[in-house]
């Protein structure tokens, strides 16, 4: 187990390096010269050259990359073009807001997915199963931004049960946890919906596979109760692919949160990326993508380790 852990941790280093290279190169894709973009159309060639030198753009690519990487590792992501504050200052608080939203969504999608999946899987062909499978099919194909709009119309605008936008109420005095949760409900459901559907379907099929396996009859022949057979043995066997897919969903949640944040004006990193793209404020986009991806890689690492802990056969690979 330890060996697997060390191996897995070591393997993310080259990946993270590769990610940094891709992010760096992505910024180089931007059409047009950045110095010209900063100075505007009236710039003279000398001024452009000066700005380019000050930005280090005259050096070869790999030197630019290493300089940039060095700064990033120290937490310096440069300055935002639009707002003229250090990018880090802009990005970090938003990042935690997204973590909150993603966390809430994760809880929703795992709980709903597991419950619906287990009940459907153990009661195949029942009305619950049919209803569950139809709804998950529809939900899995629903665009997050559209679902958010629909929920907003019905539950916020028409029924008034939940607020339509934002993370907290406008009045500063109301920044309680309850207020936060109240604002989180619709966005979390929106973000979680597709993942919950995917998880439910997978849990169901995983359970069906397990239940059909021979050892289930053998377990019953030992006098174990149905509950023990399903929840103790069935779950442990069905869990590895489930944990795997939950890990995959975290990536989707982080991406899907972007649409939710835009729709509900949730001040997270997704919304930040969106507004920075609109404002062509690319250093911010760069930093946001880098941070989010980094966290995603770590989460995947965690998932793999958990799967290996649950399924002894994986560790051999």
């Amino acid at each position: 187990m330890l060996r697997y852990l060390v191996y897995r941790v070591a393997s993310i280093v080259p990946v993270l390096l590769g990610v940094s290279v891709v992010v760096f190169l992505m910024m180089k894709l931007v059409p047009g010269d950045p110095a010209e973009a900063i100075l505007g159309p009236a710039a003279t060639t000398e001024k452009i050259e000066m700005v380019r030198r000050s930005l280090g753009l005259d050096k070869p690519f790999y030197i630019q990359y290493f300089r940039w990487l060095w700064k990033v590792l120290q937490g310096d992501f440069g300055s935002s073009i639009a707002v003229n504050v250090p990018v880090a200052q802009l990005v970090w608080p938003k990042f935690w807001n997204t973590v909150l939203l993603a966390g809430g969504s994760l809880v929703v999608c795992v709980v709903v997915g597991l419950v619906v999946g287990i009940v459907s899987g153990t009661r195949q062909y029942s009305w619950f199963d049919r209803l569950g499978m139809t709804s998950t099919l529809i939900l899995a194909n629903t665009p997050g931004f559209w679902l958010g709009l629909v929920l907003m119309v019905v539950f916020a605008l028409r029924l008034g049960w939940f607020p339509a936008t934002g993370m907290y109420s406008m009045r500063a005095a109301d920044k309680t946890v309850a207020d936060l949760l109240h604002h989180m409900v619709l966005p979390a459901i929106t973000t979680a919906a597709v993942s919950a559907a995917i998880i439910a379907r997978l849990v169901r099929s995983s359970f069906l596979d397990v239940i059909r396996k021979g050892f289930v009859t053998a377990l019953r022949a030992r006098g174990l109760s149905e509950r023990d057979v399903i929840l103790r043995h069935g779950l442990k066997n069905a869990l590895p692919p489930i944990v795997n897919i939950i890990g995959l969903q975290v990536g989707y949640l982080m991406g899907g949160a972007l649409f939710t944040e835009v729709v509900f004006s949730w001040p997270g990193i997704g919304l930040q990326i969106y507004s920075s793209i609109v404002a062509r404020d690319l250093p911010v986009v760069q930093a946001a993508v880098l941070v989010t991806t980094f966290v995603f890689v770590l989460v995947n690492l965690g998932t793999d380790v958990i799967v290996a802990a649950l399924d002894p056969r994986v560790r051999r690979a």
Partner: protein, 327 residues
């Protein structure tokens, strides 16, 4: 024989019928099966594949999967009908008074739990042992079934063991709560012949030491000859012949039994031609009237095909279901 004739049998199956109710047809897996197992007796149930033998094992534990159902007959265990018991009472018997060993050990052991965990689970459930006491008993059980270095094996997973060892583990699990009856569904088919012999020896020794009765299902008459005290020959969900093992194998009365024995190669007769039985077992969804073996029988007459044949007790501990038995 190792049982006293006047003690009531441990298990008495009377006219058992187990059917599978499919959308367009009914599969009659067991059609009026009757036999008994005495205390401490090893009874073999032999027949070709598809005769309903596995269904019989599941029926005895009332674990027949949907769409199967036991539709008739009685299964008396220690005098009481199992078919009248509640599911709760059955759970109390499974793994305790009656336990089972399956054909494929890899498919009968949970791959996600260690061997020790699984043996211990039964012990903690049925005997209310503590975890440490269960672990210790599990180690003793592994030693009992002949697994070397048992303490280390407790922490192994099923896929880390060889086929023979897996089957021994299965037996250990089955014996953990001192069953009165051990049902074994063809547990040695997947094993090498030498390992198979070891397991058969082991089972005989365990029966001698612990006194449990064994119901051993197989299609291999060689196994029956080596292991069993009595044998029941099964065909199309019915008993065709029953009796003491040596009697039946030396002087078979039913033509089917005769054919089964003829199909076996015999040591020392290299020139012998193997005679397979012509035809195939009947489709349990579409059973013919009269004797089910009639289409393949060398002694068949018109009566055989038209009238139902009863199982006749011929005294001397034997029974035959045939209108024209040998001898």
């Amino acid at each position: 024989m190792s049982t006293a004739v006047d003690l009531p049998p441990l298990v008495e199956v009377q006219d058992l019928h187990t059917h599978f109710l499919l959308k367009k047809k009914v599969v009659r897996a067991i059609n009026g099966l009757s036999f008994s197992v005495g205390r401490g007796e090893i009874l073999g149930i032999a027949g070709e594949s598809g005769a309903g033998k596995s269904v019989l094992c599941l029926s005895m534990l009332r674990l027949v999967p949907q769409p199967g159902r036991i539709v008739g007959g009685r299964i008396l265990f220690e005098g009481k009908d199992l078919l009248g018991k509640s599911e709760h009472e059955m759970r109390g018997l499974r793994g305790q008074a009656i336990s089972m060993v399956f054909e494929d050990p890899l498919n009968s052991l949970d791959p996600a739990f260690t061997v020790g965990d699984q043996i211990g689970e039964s012990l903690m459930l049925h005997k209310a042992m503590t975890r440490s006491a269960a672990r210790q008993k599990a180690g003793e059980l592994l030693r009992l079934v002949g697994i070397p270095d048992p303490e280390r094996r407790l922490d192994n997973y099923a896929h880390e063991l060889s086929g023979g060892m897996q089957q021994r583990v299965m037996i250990a699990v089955a014996l953990s709560c001192d069953p009165a009856l051990l049902i074994a569904d063809n547990p040695t088919t997947a094993l090498d012949v030498t390992i198979q012999m070891q397991i058969l020896d082991l089972v005989k020794q365990l029966r001698d030491r612990l006194g449990m009765a064994v119901l051993w299902i197989t299609h291999d008459l060689g196994v029956v000859a080596k292991l069993c005290d009595r044998v029941v020959i099964m065909y199309a969900g019915k008993v065709m012949e029953a009796g003491d093992v040596y009697d039946v194998l030396k002087r078979p009365r039913h033509p089917y039994t005769r054919r089964l024995i003829d199909a076996l190669p015999k040591l020392g007769h290299p020139e012998q031609r193997l005679i397979p039985i012509q035809g195939r077992p009947p489709n349990p969804a579409d059973l013919p009237e009269g004797c089910p073996f009639a289409p393949r029988c060398y002694k068949v007459t018109a009566e055989c095909r038209s009238q139902a044949v009863e199982l006749v007790d011929t005294g001397d501990g034997r029974a035959v279901r045939c209108l024209h038995p040998e001898e």
